[in-house]
């Protein structure tokens, strides 16, 4: 059974590698403060931050700015600790951004700006918004 033992050892080590790499590559949900700390320490890992778009006193979204060529957008997000940060997203503004209840940004800080590679928008679910007539 020697050959099978060697194969067994290989399989176990591949499986362990998989588990370790999953643990290593898994992202995490953090606040702006933690994300900023990570960036300062030189940790370039992409992380998730949950928050909402900034609103002014009248309840209108504020701080949303499309780049002059409209191919990128930046906005101000407030995280769950009420910290405000500027977020830059290198894609045209998603049409649903202004309807979102909650925003999840995935990326990392570069200097004072959070550069998002991906944005997940949580829009009011269809049942809440819908009226019957």
């Amino acid at each position: 059974m020697k050959k099978m033992h060697i194969i067994g050892i290989i399989i176990v080590s591949v499986a362990l590698t998989i588990i370790l790499s999953t643990a290593g590559d898994a992202s995490s949900y953090v606040t702006f403060a933690e994300a900023m700390k990570m960036a300062r320490e030189g940790n370039k890992k992409k992380i998730h931050v949950v928050g909402t778009l900034k609103k002014d006193d009248q309840g209108n979204f504020t701080g949303i700015e499309a780049s002059p060529d409209r191919l990128a957008v930046s906005f101000i997000m407030v995280d769950n600790n009420s910290e405000e940060r500027k977020v830059f997203y290198n894609e045209p503004m998603p049409p649903d951004l202004l309807k979102s209840e909650q925003v999840v940004i995935i990326g990392s800080f570069r200097d004072e700006t959070f550069v998002a590679d991906k944005i997940l928008l949580k829009c009011p679910s269809k049942y809440q918004e819908e009226k019957l007539n």
């Binding site: 059974m1 050959k3 099978m4 194969i7 399989i11 591949v14 499986a15 998989i18 588990i19 790499s21 999953t22 590559d25 898994a26 992202s27 995490s28 949900y29 953090v30 890992k45 992409k46 992380i47 998730h48 780049s67 060529d69 409209r70 191919l71 990128a72 830059f88 290198n90 894609e91 045209p92 503004m93 049409p95 649903d96 309807k99 999840v104 995935i106 990326g107 570069r110 200097d111 004072e112 700006t113 550069v115 590679d117 991906k118 997940l120 949580k122 829009c123 679910s125 269809k126 049942y127 918004e129 819908e130 009226k131 019957l132 007539n133």
Partner: protein, 832 residues
């Protein structure tokens, strides 16, 4: 209100549930009886109840179809998944859009498979149908919709709208009927939605057959005879499940805008992993059939496949994936029930396997590395590891939920770039599988020993290496994993090809396996070229920096196109030519400008004659029927080599579900050009402050750097929306703005009615101008226009080239053909 229909449906659900329990009980009795006559009687009882269950399930399905088909919007299911204007085939699709309908579809497949088993499974009927009926009871319980001690069992599809929605209108008028349903999600309005879910659920449903045989055989302590009967089923299972997955991939590529055919989304992963295991279990059965070994492995693999199907059902339907997936079902609060379903079958199977483990025959024999089965087992292990690598990260939301249950916040999230994360591993597994498939086939079909090893293996290896080097040079491949994968793919294709010609070619019915492996090799090479070497051609490398704080250039992957203003993109010159619509009965696209809206958004009137070729298809003034949600954006591609074409990416606007974009693909033999809009100009524009400009009739002026001509004026006989009296005057000014390719016309009106004067401004959204007549000065024969401007109509698009993607689709077809041949052979064997 059609209350009877829903009550009938609910009655069918209850009959279906209860009869599946009775059938389960009867079949348990039949296998438990030692007495043959008694056992036969219980078996007949079981058949009776299963057929009753089948009729009742078909009844549930028919009633739900009837409700959707007849637009009974008093029912929540019809209201939330269908709408009046859906064509019949989308009404069918609406049936399985929701969780309840898709459970029913699944259960219906089980009924059909169950009937086939009753007819053909002979002595295995008792144990196999016992498991079957228990699974059915669990599935039907998901749509039961009854309360037991405050605990909801299942979610009924026959709930009335007024019982689900808390809307004040029902207090005033309980009989209230909404005028229309909210429709099928626009993402899903595609013919794939009609054929993909039934195929996938058939694949899901089929995984129960090997499982039921395996558990039944453990129960009956008859460990060997079942495998032969199961092989044809295992082939159909892997085939159908694979086709279902590929249909989903092609659908995602062609219509949905996920950017590609595979995105390692949790929902995709949740079917990919059981499929890998199904493939592994099929291979283990083939070894056993020929050599009589690895029986224990078969049990492990077959049970794992089914458990993973249950797990994937739990993942996609419990709402646990939440934000991590773009396409899981909405949560119906069935998590508890789904967990019970998962645990019951996992525990029953695993405990039974442990109890019987020692009894399962396992000849102690060292596997020779010169034998085919040694290499197949290596392949099986690789498949399992590949599945393991996918399921571990996909389950991250589950770990978080478990930790939360114990009061801990984990804060752990799925990998930020899923595609890169999974591909990095899967590429090695794919390469290993290809090498193993080529090698295993060689050892399987030929007698190879240490003497002829070199001569047998060297031919395919040499051909593959030469071909790989040629391709590396031509396509300038430099990444090590890519080179390995390409070489492995070529090796698998060549070595299987040689076997196909030499050995299996003599007897065509034996060539199923080799064909399937050649198909797989083509598919993986196609995935490598189309995904590994896909490139964005709408790349914007202007060297522009977004802000001073980022020193690096930001490459933008989108291109902004103003109406009729050509822009260069790679070797193509692109021109956005305006919005188009599609009308019923008219081929091709019609300019949105050439039809006028009416009060019914679905009907428009042609403003000009519409041609089809040279023939006038629609006369001016005719009414056309359109789907007002769909707009197509015509983009003209011109290239230096004279290959010009138009693409029409689509945007679907649904008031309830938001905007959905679909790509338009230019398909050629060597590559696909995949184009979709990312953003379009808003119909509600931001207008500049109006400014005044006095212009003499017949002279020119400027608007937004374009020359505009005030070509003339005319008195109008009638003005829409106002009655003109005898002394009233209406004057229309004709303004033409010269564009690069087409001109734009604006015709504002000035109205004197009684003692009042007023302006009716006119706008041209394509050009982005609104002109009103502020004042008419007869003395100087001039008009004073009040002009405000906005953007011209524009779109932002993204274009990606996918090289050699046709190799992937070709490989798919070869694979399917291989599976079909293998199935035909095994069925013939089974008949003997």
């Amino acid at each position: 209100m059609h209350l009877f229909t829903g009550n009938l449906g609910h009655l069918f659900v209850i009959v279906s549930f209860v009869s599946s329990l009775f059938a389960f009980f009867s079949y348990t009795k039949s296998i438990g009886s030692v007495d043959d006559i008694k056992s036969g009687k219980w078996k007949n009882n079981g058949r009776f109840f299963f057929i009753l269950h089948g009729i009742a399930t078909a009844g549930v399905v028919s009633v739900l179809f009837y409700i959707i088909g007849n637009n009974y919007f008093e029912y929540h299911y019809a209201w939330s998944h269908s709408s009046k204007y859906l064509p019949v085939y989308y009404k069918i699709a609406a049936f399985w859009e929701g969780q309840e309908g898709s459970f029913l579809l699944w259960a219906l497949w089980h009924v059909i498979i169950g009937l086939v088993l009753i007819r053909y499974s002979k002595t295995w009927e008792g144990p196999v149908m016992t498991i079957f009926c228990l699974v059915q009871a669990f599935l039907i319980s998901m749509v039961l919709g009854i309360m037991i001690f405050d605990y909801k069992i299942g979610s009924s599809p026959f709930l009335l709208l007024r019982d689900v929605m808390e809307d004040p209108i029902f207090a005033i008028n309980p009989e209230f009927l909404p005028a229309d349903g909210t429709g099928l999600n626009p993402l899903l309005q595609n013919y794939w939605m009609v054929i993909h879910p039934p195929t996938l659920f058939l694949g899901f449903a089929l995984t129960i057959v090997p499982f039921a045989y395996a558990v039944g055989s453990l129960w009956m302590k008859q460990y060997e005879g079942w495998v032969r009967a199961t092989i044809p089923w295992a082939i159909i299972t892997t085939g159908i499940l694979g086709i279902g997955i590929l249909m989903g991939a092609y659908w995602a590529y062609e219509t949905l805008n996920f950017g590609g055919y595979w995105n390692w989304d949790p929902v995709e992963n949740a079917v990919y992993v059981p499929w890998l295991l199904a493939v592994a279990s099929l291979h283990s059965m083939v070894i056993f059939h020929k050599k009589g070994t690895s029986l224990r492995l078969i049990y492990i693999l077959v049970i794992s496949t089914f458990v993973l199907i249950l797990y994937s059902t739990f993942l996609t339907r419990s709402g646990i994936l939440g934000n991590t997936s773009v396409h899981s079902f909405t949560d119906l609060g069935l998590s508890g029930q789904l967990l019970v379903y998962l645990f019951v079958f996992t525990l029953v199977a695993v405990i039974l396997l442990i109890i019987r483990w020692k009894q399962i025959p396992a000849p102690a024999r060292e596997l020779s590395s010169y034998s085919g089965e040694f290499w197949i087992i290596l392949g099986i292990l690789t498949l399992c590891l590949a599945g393991f690598q996918v399921i571990i990260p996909t389950s991250i939301p589950v770990y978080s939920a478990i930790l939360k249950f114990f009061g801990m916040e984990s804060g752990i999230a799925p990998p930020a770039d899923q595609i890169q994360f999974y591909s990095r591993f899967q590429i090695w597994f794919a390469a290993a599988l290809l090498i193993l498939s080529g090698t295993a086939q060689s050892f399987w079909w030929k007698r190879i020993n240490s003497k002829n090893l070199f001569s047998e293996i060297s031919i395919p290896v040499t051909i593959a290496l030469v071909a790989a080097i040629v391709m590396m040079v031509i396509f300038r491949i430099s990444s090590v994993p890519y080179i390995l994968l390409l070489t492995a793919g070529l090796y698998a294709a060549v070595s299987n090809g040689i076997i196909l010609i030499k050995a299996a070619g003599k007897k065509f019915s034996f060539s199923g396996g080799t064909l399937a492996h050649i198909g797989l090799a083509f598919m993986i090479i196609g995935i490598l070229t189309s995904s590994g070497y896909s490139f964005v051609i709408s790349q914007n490398t202007t060297g522009m920096m977004y802000s001073k704080s980022f020193p690096d250039e930001i490459n933008k992957e989108n291109l902004l196109l103003f109406l009729n203003e050509p822009r260069q993109m790679g070797k193509y010159q692109l021109t956005y030519e305006g919005k188009k619509v599609k009308a019923k009965g008219v081929k091709g696209y019609i300019a949105r400008n050439s039809v006028a809206s009416t009060s019914d958004p679905r009907r428009v009137i042609a403003k000009v004659d519409i041609l089809e070729g040279k023939e006038v298809k629609v006369r001016k003034g005719d009414t056309l029927e359109i789907n007002p949600e769909n707009t197509y954006y015509s983009v003209y591609y011109e290239s230096d080599d004279g290959l010009n074409f138009r693409l029409y990416p689509r945007l679907q606007e649904n008031p309830n579900m938001g905007n959905v974009v679909s790509p338009s693909i230019r398909k050629t033999v060597l590559q696909d050009i995949y184009t979709h809009v990312t953003v379009v100009a808003n119909e509600e524009r931001v207008w500049s402050e109006p400014y005044l400009e006095e212009v003499e009739v017949g002279s020119s002026f400027h608007i937004k750097d374009h020359v505009a001509e005030f070509t003339g004026m005319e008195r109008m006989e009638e003005v829409e929306g106002t009655e003109l009296g005898e002394n009233d005057v209406a004057v229309k000014a004709r303004v033409r703005i010269l564009g690069h390719q087409t001109d734009f016309y604006v015709e504002p009106v000035y109205l004197i009615k009684g003692n009042n004067a007023g302006q009716i401004p006119a706008e041209n959204l394509d050009f982005g101008v609104k002109i009103g007549i502020d004042k008419i000065t007869p003395a100087s024969n001039s008009f004073t226009f009040s002009i405000s401007t906005s953007d011209k109509d524009y779109i932002i698009l993204k274009a990606v080239v996918k090289p050699l993607i046709n190799i992937l689709w070709l490989g798919t077809l070869i694979l399917v053909a291989g599976v079909a041949v293998a199935l035909a052979r095994r069925l013939m064997e089974f008949r003997k």
